[in-house]
Each structure stands twice: as structure tokens, then as C-alpha cells.
Amino acid sequence: MSVYLDHAATTPMVEPALVAMNQQLRKLGNPSSLHTPGRSARKDIEQSRESLAKVVGCIPSEIIFTGSGTESDNTALKGLFWKGRKEGKNLVLISAIEHHAILDPAQWLQEHEGAQVIEIPVDSNGVVEIEALDTLLSQRADEVAVISVMHANNETGAIQPIAAIVQAANEYSIPVHSDAVQSFGKVGLNFAELGLTAMSLSGHKIGGPLGIGVLVLKRGLELPALLHGGGQEREIRSGTLNAPAIVALSAAAECSIPVEEIQQLRQLLENGIKQAVPDAYINSTGEKLPGIVNATYPGTESDTLLLLLDAEGIAASTGSACSAGVQRPSHVLLAMGHNEKSARSSLRFSIGTSTTRAEIERVLEVLPVVIERARAANLR
């Protein structure tokens, strides 16, 4: 039996998305062309844009299609920084638990564009400390070009206090971006209600295709482009519009994820882990995404766990690896107070729409042996 519990990495495309994509792939016409086939493709895109706007609580013109969540993050962070710099602001505030798609461009801005990056700390549950942000703003608000805090963390699932962050930033009129790639479709997400300036989404995390992302960007806001060319998408993202991926993303966004069932499976898994491995503990126990179980198994190394589980047909995740494929201790867990050793002993299971009870039971069945072997193999 093969068990897939890495839905936060990517999840199967849902049937309506597959159908929509297939149909659109057979259609002719560049959406930017003025003739009939072009206009037809454009119409399909605009319908998708409108239905997607309804789902995420924005107006259609606020939706900019990009190639990935990473591209959306880069466009927002760099664009908002450059915009702020024109007004003499060079401070970039991000949380300490951002995805690399924010961490790395922030680092790049610091190294190449004169930005100063400050990471807002998180508590032991992996939630941004709003007091730390308040203190920072009370001292240096007029220097801040942009604040970027993810909506929910991809490794632990911890939901971040975005509304409070926006409220704090509003006092100083600081733009706030949020990477909502993991939250999209799984928890309530309303761009207008959150009061965000920008928000990143991705297609393949919600049952849509790979290679499509969305930057939701407040109406009327001009940002410098990363890609220049045909001037598509408010001249912020040039490039022929990927109609098949766009209609499929929109179709996937229309499908609701069975949140309650996923939550029940998560509970089953969390309880089972605690029973099977008494000294294991769950990372992030507060408000979080329904399908993520990040746990630490003392005395193990996560890459050993991954190999042993994989050999049993179970797919889990150890977090990010460097370019050579070497596992690194998670910066998210380190920011939550883990030491390198315990961060390296942690593993994420993520549950999705297609997950079954039998899959969870299979994991719980093999887990004790896997943990025992991993402990024996831990020679450090």
C-alpha cells in the first residue's frame, strides 16, 4: 500500500481542474491576440479571474497571474521594497519562519539593493510575536518599506495573526504582503477583509496544476516588474498568459476541500503518534491548518526516517534541502526554539483531500519499528 502524506508539497489535481485544463489545451488562440480565437481564450481567462476573485475576496483586476507562488512572492517583496525605497525607506520586515521564496529574496535585497532585513521572532508555537512587531514599528515605522508575513506556515501549519499585523501596519500606512500559498483553500481567506496590500497564491497546492501562481495586488498599485515584455497583467507580469493552467486553477479553487474530514484524520494521526512514540511531540499546537502534522521524534534523524518510511511506501517530508540535496535543520523549528538536533529529528506529514483513514492507520502501524530503527541508526 502506498501512502502519500506530503500534500503540503503538492497534491493531486482535482478532476474538474484536469477536465478544464485538457479542454483548454486543445483550444487555439493567444489571449492577447485581437482576433476571434484570441478573444475566446481571453474570455476564458477573464471568467477564471472573476470566479477566482470571488473565492479570495478581491476584485478581478487585483488578480495577477504569475508562474508560481515563488514568483508572486518575489514580485511583491521586491516591488514593494523598490517602491518604498523611492520614499527613502529601506527596512524590510519579515517573519523568521517565512518560506525560502520570501527569505531568499529578502536576503538578496539586503545583499544587492541596500535593504536592511529584520526578522520578526515567533513564539514556541511558531506564531509571530505581535508585540515584537509593535515595538519595532514604534521605533522605526517611518523606515519600513514593506512587511511580509505568511498566512500560515508550510512546515508547522501555524496560522499567523495577519489581521493584527495589518492593523498595526495601517497606523503607519506600511504595505503588508502575505504568502498565503498554504492557507489557500484550507482556511477562510479574504483579501479585502484582511486589508492586505498583496497576497501570494499557488495552483498546485489546491488541486490545480503546477506552473501557475497568483499575486493578488491592491487595485491601482503600480509595482516595478521582474519580467518585461508584452505588458500583460497590469505590466507587472509580462508573458503569454497560461490559459490552460489559469482555467484549471480557477476550477480547482471552486472545489471545496473537505476540511472537517482532514481535521479528523489529523487528530487520528496526532493521537496515534503520541501513543506509538511516547516521547514524540507535536510542533505547533495552536490554531493551525487542518492537514499538517509536524512532530519531533527525539533520538532520530529525519532523513533516516524519510528513507525508512519511503521503503514502506510512505511519503513524508523533512523540509528543505540545499542545492546538493543535503537536509538542513529547519529554520522554522529553530526560530521556534528548537536546537539543531531536535530540528533534525522532526518530520512533517501533510494530509490532503485524497487521504484515507487506511493511509493514516498504515503509518501508525509501521511508525514504532521505523522510529526504533532510526534511533539505532543515529550515531551522532
Binding site: D303, A324, G325, V326, A376, L379
Partner: protein
């Protein structure tokens, strides 16, 4: 059996993994990341552990059809191999890091981890053979003598040899390349790696200078008279002739050779070629690849370089030291090198040379 194939990204380990699969074993490919700051690309024949090598290993595993993972052994490698390499040089000895890597990483850290995870052993692309004997598995030279790596494997204990699988030992290297091409492995024509993998520039002396400093010291003759200066005694090796930069010629114009390195006083002692001659070598920390060596002298062969000639000798155990007395004198033997005893093509054991006598 369930085996871990250590895959460097080179042709040998790729074919070794493929052969292990053909033999009916359940094989999982593992690439060892040995550097915490890997370089992106290989430069020439030097180095390993680049991002490109890990990609080559992954693609080889794909072609062979086995799962593939990367194991981070950078810490173990640094402690067990790189630091040992530095401290040996700093102590005036000439170490062989490939031996240490086999001893501490491939057939220790990796094999131990593999066994704990429920695997039976480790497959590598080393050119060596093992055989079953009544006393257990024994280690032997490869068929391709020019590629034979039994020397660098001579640090393996009986228990380690039990878990070691060398599927290439019965084949000539040229045929391994052909086989790799037939199997569709893209690494079939990848150059062999040479030199020391963690000194990517190949400039051993420069690499040591950066880490051990360049303190100037005297070069003296056997009477203790200073005849030159050097920038760090540790960069010399016994028997070395070139690079001494001496301006005082010998009376008869004959060249001088490094006879001795004294790390405490940072002194290099030089002398005539004839003074390099040694007849007896003592080795510390002996390891037996089979039954232990007896106290009574036994006829056999000793090899003191990875691709050196086996030299006829008698060998015996003196306390905790392995002793080999050569049938004919040998010119120049650096301490720190491994002395490996052979009985025919079987590796009896090895020790690290700690003292030599004329």
C-alpha cells in the same frame, strides 16, 4: 540481501550498484555529501562531492532503477578525515586520507547506519575482491592490478569486511566503462577522480599552508648545520628531492633528499640518497583483515603506497606493533603511510608506519 550502494557520481560505483541489483539484491543508492560547502561543478579529474556529482549519482540510480538518497556525512568526514589529515601533517607525518575515509566513513559511519536500518551491507565501486573462507570473509586484490584498491581498504576489520561488497573486483576497468555505456549510464566516460577530494585545487602544499600557517624554519644537514630555510616543515615528505630551494651544494654535487621532519622544532633534515635507505618498519594500531599476525616471523609482502610494488619481507607482531623487515632496502618511507601486509593476493592487515630503521 538488502544493501546500501554508496554512489559517488562516478562510473565505478554506478556499475557496482547495477551489478548488485543484477545479483538479485535489494539495493538503495546513497550519495554521501562530504563537504558542507559543496562546489557546483567538478574541475577536471579532481574532487568529488560537487552538486554535479550528486546529480550524476542520482541519474545513475534512476537508470539502475533504485531509490536514491543523500546522506550528510560532512561532519563525520571533517572530523574523521580532514582533521586527521591536518593533524598528521602537523605532526610531521604523511597521511593517506582515502584509508581514513574507508575506515571512518564508508565502512563505519555508513555501514553502521545501514546495519541499524536493517540493511546487510554496503556496496562500493572499489576494485578489490572478497572471498569466503572457513574463518570468514577475506579481502583480496582486484583482477585489474593497475586499479587495485585493496591497499586503501586494508584498514577494514573482519566485521567490516563481512558487510562490504565489491562487485567490480573481478573485472578490468576498461570493461567497466564499456559495461556502463551498455547499461546506458551517462557517467560511462566521466574521468576518474585522482588526488585528494577535499583539496579541489590539487595544491596540497598551498591548502596546508592556508590551514597550518607558513612558519619559516631551518633546513639542516645530518650534522645539524643550517643550509636553507623552508616555510613549514609539514609540507615536506620523506624522500622528497624537489622544492627544497637549497643554495649550498653538496661537495660532490649530488642531490639532497628529505630524511626527517621534526615538527616540534619545525626542522627539515636533508641528506644523501643512500641515507634514505631503510630495512625495517614499525607500524602502530594494526588492523587485521583476517586472523591476527603471529609473533613469529612470517614470509610475505609489504606494500607502502596505494599503487606501489609489494616488497618481499618477513613480518611479525612485536607487542602492539606490526614489524616488517624487508629483503632488500627501501629508499624513503614517510611515517604516517600505511604498511599493508599481503599473503599472495590476500590482505593480511595493515598498520600506520611510526618508525623506520636502516
Amino acid at each position: 540481501m538488502r544493501l546500501i550502494a554508496a554512489m559517488s557520481g562516478g562510473v565505478d560505483s554506478a556499475v557496482a550498484a547495477a551489478r548488485a541489483v543484477d545479483q538479485g539484491h535489494e539495493v538503495i543508492g546513497v550519495h554521501l555529501a562530504l563537504s558542507s560547502n559543496p562546489q557546483k561543478y567538478r574541475s577536471g579529474a579532481r574532487g568529488c562531492c560537487t552538486v554535479e556529482d550528486s546529480h550524476d549519482a542520482r541519474r545513475a540510480a534512476d537508470v539502475v532503477g533504485i531509490p536514491f538518497y543523500i546522506w550528510d556525512m560532512a561532519e563525520e568526514f571533517h572530523e574523521g578525515v580532514v582533521e586527521n589529515f591536518l593533524s598528521e601533517y602537523a605532526a610531521g607525518r604523511t597521511p593517506n586520507p582515502c584509508l581514513r575515509c574507508n575506515e571512518k566513513i564508508k565502512f563505519a559511519a555508513v555501514l553502521d547506519r545501514a546495519r541499524a536500518m536493517g540493511f546487510d551491507g554496503v556496496v562500493t565501486g572499489h576494485y578489490a575482491r572478497t572471498r569466503q573462507s572457513p574463518s570468514g570473509k577475506t579481502l583480496h586484490r582486484a583482477v585489474d592490478i593497475s586499479k587495485d584498491q585493496s591497499y586503501v581498504l586494508s584498514v577494514l576489520t573482519v566485521e567490516q569486511i563481512e558487510g562490504a561488497y565489491f562487485p567490480l573486483g573481478d573485472t578490468e576497468k576498461i570493461d567497466i566503462r564499456k559495461e556502463a555505456a551498455e547499461r546506458g549510464l551517462s557517467v560511462a566516460n566521466k574521468p576518474d577522480s585522482h588526488d585528494i577530494c577535499f583539496v579541489p585545487s590539487g595544491d596540497n602544499a598551498g591548502w596546508l599552508h592556508e590551514r597550518l600557517g607558513s612558519e619559516v624554519g631551518p633546513i639542516v644537514d645530518q650534522e645539524g648545520k643550517e643550509i636553507g630555510k623552508h616555510k613549514g616543515a609539514y609540507t615536506y615528505t620523506i624522500g622528497q628531492r624537489k622544492g627544497l630551494g637549497l643554495s649550498v651544494p653538496t661537495e660532490d654535487g649530488s642531490p639532497r633528499f628529505v630524511l626527517k621532519i621534526e615538527p616540534k622544532t619545525n626542522t627539515v633534515v636533508v641528506g644523501a640518497r643512500a641515507d634514505l635507505a631503510i630495512r625495517t618498519m614499525y607500524g602502530e594500531k594494526p588492523v587485521w583483515c583476517g586472523p591476527a599476525v603471529a609473533l613469529t616471523p612470517t614470509e610475505g609482502f609489504v606494500q607502502i603506497r596505494a599503487h606501489g610494488q609489494p616488497l618481499p619481507c618477513t613480518y611479525y607482531l612485536d607487542g602492539d606493533k606490526l614489524v616488517a623487515t624487508l629483503a632488500a632496502p627501501l629508499l624513503g618511507l614517510a611515517t604516517g603511510q600505511a604498511m599493508v601486509i599481503y599473503d599472495g593476493d590476500r590482505v593480511v592487515g595493515s598498520a600506520t608506519v611510526c618508525e623506520t630503521l636502516a
